[in-house]
C-alpha cells in the first residue's frame, strides 16, 4: 500500500459525516434516528460491493477485520464480526463498517491517484486493511469519522437530555475510581461508567465507544472542572 500523509481537522470530519447522513436522508426520503444505518449508507447509498469473508486468510494478515478495495469499489468484513452469527459483536462490527466508510469518504481520491501510479507498475490493487489496534494517522481519521457517523453530536445531546433530563455533564471521577478499585485496574485503564453502558444500545455501539464519544462531547467529565466553567 502506498504511504499517504494528510491532515484532516476534526471539525471537517464531523461536517463530512453530517453531510453524508443528509445525502442519505435526501436520497431515500428517510429521517435518520439512532442507530444510524451505517451498513445501508456504505452498501446502498455509496454503492460498494459488500461481503463477509475469512479476511485474515484472504489478505494474509491474522489481525485483519475490514478491507477496502478502492478501485473495484469492494469492502469486506471478517466473518468473525458477523452479528447475525455473533450478536455480541454488533457494536464492534458497526464501528468497523463506519470506519471503512471513513476511509472511503476521506481517503478515496488521494488513494486512487496514488494507487494509480503504483498500478502502472504492479497491475494488482492493494486493499487498505484495517486491524483492531492500528493507530496511524489515516486510521485515526477513519476512527474519528466512525465515532461522528455512529454518534452524531445532535443525536447524542438529544439522547442525553432524554435520559438525564438536562444537558448537564456527569462528573465520572468517583464512579471510575470505584470501578478501578473493584476490578483492580491500573492507573491508565478506564472502565466504562453506567451512563455510557445505558446509552450504547441506543446507538448500537460498544460501551467503550459510547464513553469515548461522551467524553469528547464533554458530557462525561473525567477531571474536576474549574469552578464557574458550567452552571
Amino acid at each position: 500500500m502506498a504511504r499517504i500523509h494528510n491532515f484532516v481537522p476534526r471539525k471537517s470530519i464531523e461536517a463530512d459525516t453530517l453531510a453524508l447522513i443528509a445525502d442519505y436522508e435526501r436520497k431515500y426520503g428517510r429521517t435518520v434516528t439512532p442507530p444510524v444505518p451505517v451498513e445501508e449508507i456504505l452498501e446502498a447509498h455509496l454503492g460498494l460491493a459488500y461481503d463477509f469473508d475469512d479476511l485474515p486468510k484472504l489478505v494474509n494478515d491474522p489481525e485483519a477485520l475490514g478491507g477496502l478495495w478502492f478501485r473495484s469499489r469492494e469492502v469486506k468484513f471478517d466473518q468473525s464480526l458477523d452479528p447475525t452469527v455473533f450478536p455480541s459483536k454488533l457494536g464492534r462490527y458497526r464501528f468497523t463498517v463506519a470506519h471503512e466508510t471513513g476511509h472511503w469518504e476521506l481517503h478515496r481520491d488521494m488513494f486512487l491517484s496514488s494507487e494509480g501510479q503504483v498500478a502502472m507498475f504492479e497491475g494488482e490493487e492493494s486493499p487498505v486493511i484495517c486491524r483492531s489496534n492500528d493507530k496511524s494517522q489515516l486510521e485515526w481519521q477513519a476512527d474519528c469519522f466512525a465515532g461522528n457517523l455512529l454518534m452524531p453530536k445532535g443525536m447524542v445531546y438529544a439522547q442525553w437530555e432524554a435520559m438525564r433530563g438536562s444537558r448537564e455533564p456527569y462528573i465520572a471521577i468517583g464512579e471510575i475510581a470505584d470501578l478501578k478499585a473493584r476490578w483492580g485496574l491500573g492507573e491508565d485503564e478506564r472502565p466504562t461508567v453506567d451512563v455510557a453502558r445505558q446509552m450504547a444500545p441506543v446507538f448500537q455501539v460498544s460501551a467503550q465507544a459510547m464513553q469515548i464519544r461522551l467524553i469528547e462531547l464533554r458530557l462525561i467529565r473525567t477531571r474536576v472542572p474549574e469552578p464557574g466553567l458550567f452552571p
Binding site: D51, D53, T84
Partner: protein, 121 residues
C-alpha cells in the same frame, strides 16, 4: 459446498435492484429477514456455497417479488409443497406424473392442460 454461481449472481442482481429504492435490502438486513447468516448469504451470492434450503429460497422470492419456481429451479431445489401434494395422493399423483413423462408431454403441453384445468374449476 460446491456453490452455484448462477443462483448467487441472480440473487445479488435482484437484491441490488431492490436496494436502489430501499436501502434495507443490504446484505445483513436481507439475510436477517430470510433467516440465514450474512456470511452464508455473502458466500451463496459469490457462488462459493450451495443455495439455502427451499424454505429460505421461497422467503427470498417473496421479499424480492419474483417467481418462487424460478429461484427454486435455479437452485435445483423442489418446493416442499410439491412433496406434500404427492404424499396426499401418493398413487394417483405418481401415476399422473409418470404418465405425463411416458407420453413425452412437453412444457407447452403441460401448461395447456393446466390452463384447461384452471378454466374448468
Amino acid at each position: 459446498m460446491a456453490g452455484n454461481k448462477k443462483f448467487g449472481k441472480r440473487i445479488r442482481e435482484l437484491r441490488e435492484a431492490k436496494k436502489t429504492v430501499d436501502p434495507t435490502f443490504s446484505l445483513r438486513q436481507f439475510a436477517l429477514k430470510v433467516g440465514i447468516s450474512a456470511t452464508f448469504l455473502s458466500k451463496v451470492e459469490n457462488g462459493e456455497f450451495d443455495p439455502p434450503k427451499a424454505e429460505h429460497i421461497i422467503k427470498m422470492a417473496e421479499l424480492l417479488e419474483v417467481d418462487t419456481d424460478e429461484l427454486l429451479a435455479l437452485a435445483n431445489r423442489t418446493d416442499p409443497e410439491l412433496e406434500e401434494i404427492i404424499k396426499s395422493e401418493p398413487r394417483a399423483m405418481a401415476d399422473l406424473l409418470r404418465t405425463a413423462r411416458d407420453r413425452g408431454l412437453t412444457a407447452e403441453d403441460l401448461e395447456r392442460i393446466t390452463r384447461n384445468m384452471k378454466r374448468k374449476s
